[in-house]
């Protein structure tokens, strides 16, 4: 089935001159992070009963129906299984009313504040992760398909610049590991291609669910670079670049990673 999806995305590219720019990784070379994981992690992810991420998914399903000010997510959007299908695959996306790029977590908080009249949830809180994981889960199996044209173009270019620039005391760029050396060993780890298609994912190292932003921040910490605070626009830019770079890879949320 993946082949069919990949072929469909490749076909869409061929007819869209806007996407004619060079890919960081050729479509047929894309490898999800799960392919670099051990057999135990892979089996944990593929078994919906054993996958701890589903504790958050089920919580998200409850929160979806809980009202803020008499208005639940469900009151406007209806059944998430239909209305949210494919939505996460298009995020981060440009929001015209605030003239900024919003990732899914920011979109949920925007909806809470402006439509539901309740307070924004803290980044990496269980509630926000439950909701974003639940919404992302509705797109499981669908290929990443962000729009990087038009108003999103500037953010995309900033994200690409961040990805290819050297950072921190180790003076490393994201590209040096994840474009040029993926598949090779870094101490006990195999370097992945650095895709975000499993997130929000359950990280065994963290003993909890975490967002893609947290994962990016962890990488920056690993190369001893300055970490932008959670929700910072430069992280959203990188999320956009990563999603573009992973176009065609199916969404796995909730993924499991070591």
């Amino acid at each position: 089935m993946h082949r069919v999806l990949l072929a469909a995305v490749a076909g869409a590219w061929a007819i869209s001159p806007a996407h004619a720019q060079q890919r960081a990784l050729p479509l047929d070379a894309l490898r999800s992070g799960v392919e670099f994981a051990g057999a135990d992690v892979r089996s944990m992810q593929s078994d919906d009963v054993a996958n701890p991420g589903f504790l958050w998914i089920e919580r998200g399903e409850k929160l979806w129906r809980e009202g803020g000010d008499g208005k639940s997510c469900n009151a406007c959007h209806g059944d998430a299984r239909a209305s949210m299908r494919g939505v996460a695959a298009r995020y981060p996306a440009y929001d015209a009313s605030s003239a900024t790029m919003l990732d899914l977590e920011a979109r949920i908080n925007d909806c809470r504040v402006r439509r539901q009249g309740v307070s924004a949830l803290t980044r990496e809180s269980d509630e926000l992760l439950a909701l974003s994981a639940y919404v992302t889960h509705q797109s499981r199996g669908m290929p990443e398909a962000v729009n990087v044209e038009g108003a999103a173009r500037a953010a995309f270019e900033r994200g690409r610049a961040f990805y290819t620039a050297r950072h921190g005391q180790m003076n490393l760029s994201c590209a040096q590991c994840h474009d040029q050396n993926w598949g090779k060993r870094l101490y006990a780890e195999t370097l992945s291609q650095g895709h975000g298609n499993a997130f929000p994912a359950y990280k065994l190292e963290w003993q909890t669910m975490g967002s893609l932003q947290r994962r990016i921040r962890a990488c920056l910490s690993g190369i001893r670079a300055e970490m932008p605070p959670a929700g910072a626009p430069e992280l959203t830019d990188v999320e956009l670049y990563l999603a573009w770079r992973a176009q065609g890879l199916p969404i796995e949320a909730p993924g499991v990673r070591r």
């Binding site: 009963v49 054993a50 701890p52 589903f54 504790l55 089920e58 919580r59 065994l204 003993q207 909890t208």
Partner: protein, 106 residues
């Protein structure tokens, strides 16, 4: 607390073992960690977990700091008659969680 997921096979044969799986959302704080100002975070793990089949104890665990967060337990129970499995657990803070699953013996 109290968030949990239970999985039991939908059809069970009398006299044959069936698989029970449960995962519980719990931080399983080890007691060995410190917070950002160096203060020790007290241990809070699920201390005991028990499963009853139609009221009769069939499975129990005493846990400690060695069990990872969000424990996932998988065990087998012999099918006898249709009824319920009742799960109960208590953590160091005294919080109690419960869950229930139906057993259908064919």
């Amino acid at each position: 607390m109290a968030d949990s997921r239970v999985n039991v096979s939908p059809e069970i044969r009398r006299g044959e073992p069936f698989e029970v799986r449960i995962s519980i959302r719990h931080a399983m704080e080890t007691g060995y960690r410190t917070d950002t100002v160096g203060k020790s975070i007290p241990r809070n793990v699920i201390r005991t977990f028990a499963c009853r089949y139609n009221g009769e104890p069939v499975f129990a665990v005493r846990m400690s700091s060695g069990i990872a967060a969000n424990p996932y337990l998988r065990f087998f129970v012999t099918g006898r008659e249709s009824g319920t499995l009742d799960f109960e657990w208590i953590d160091d803070a005294g919080e109690r969680g419960v869950a229930q699953a139906a057993v259908k013996v064919v």
